[in-house]
Symmetry: C2
């Protein structure tokens, strides 16, 4: 049971779109990710997903609108809602999701990471 | 589905030890709280609890040790572990816990809030 320092953990990796696990509780996992560029359109059929912006600005496109998230802001995307994250410049995010989730949801692409590394 | 700005939400209340709900996902809730002074010793028998420090420094006492959490740091307290938060100066925290949780855990005291207000 040790404090987890977000800034320190973010120094441990540089890959984009490759979430790293920093903790686990109540069947959920806490992930850190660096995002840059466009992700793919996808849906999580059974899991709500939380994006919390640590640094930068993230645009999340939905089929009927576009939401911009800035530092210190968070968004909960309900299950079943198709979305596409876009990071013009690098964005650092904290994600909160069920353990079983795939970050590319219903889509398997070359961006899909099967198991999130723990850092 | 709107961005939630943590700083703006924190301006909406001043009470200490009275968590406010800002979101819900996968049977879990996201709470904001301002803490000052000593809380009570308590245990959550069935729920892990996450403290993420937005502002200030929080000491969490355990029966066999003491952990200090600073801004940008988080701690996951596994279920069944007795703990007592202490905030010498005001601390602003983000909490992540199951919906059913009582913040005073196994103890009912005059600090117990039965239902967390949504802000």
């Amino acid at each position: 049971m040790k404090p987890i320092n977000i800034s320190e953990k973010l120094k441990l990796f540089n890959e984009h779109w490759t979430p790293k696990k920093i903790g686990e509780l109540n069947g959920q996992q806490l992930l850190l990710a660096k995002l840059k560029g466009e992700f793919i359109w996808h849906t999580h059929e059974n899991e709500d997903e939380l994006f919390f912006i640590i640094k930068g600005s993230l645009v999340i496109e939905f089929r009927d609108r576009k939401v911009t998230l800035n530092e210190g802001e968070l968004l909960i995307i309900p299950k079943g809602v198709e979305h596409k994250p876009i990071a013009k410049e690098e964005v650092q995010v904290l994600l909160f999701e069920p353990l079983a989730i795939k970050h590319t949801g219903n889509v398997v692409s070359n961006l899909t990471v099967e198991t999130f590394e723990t850092i």
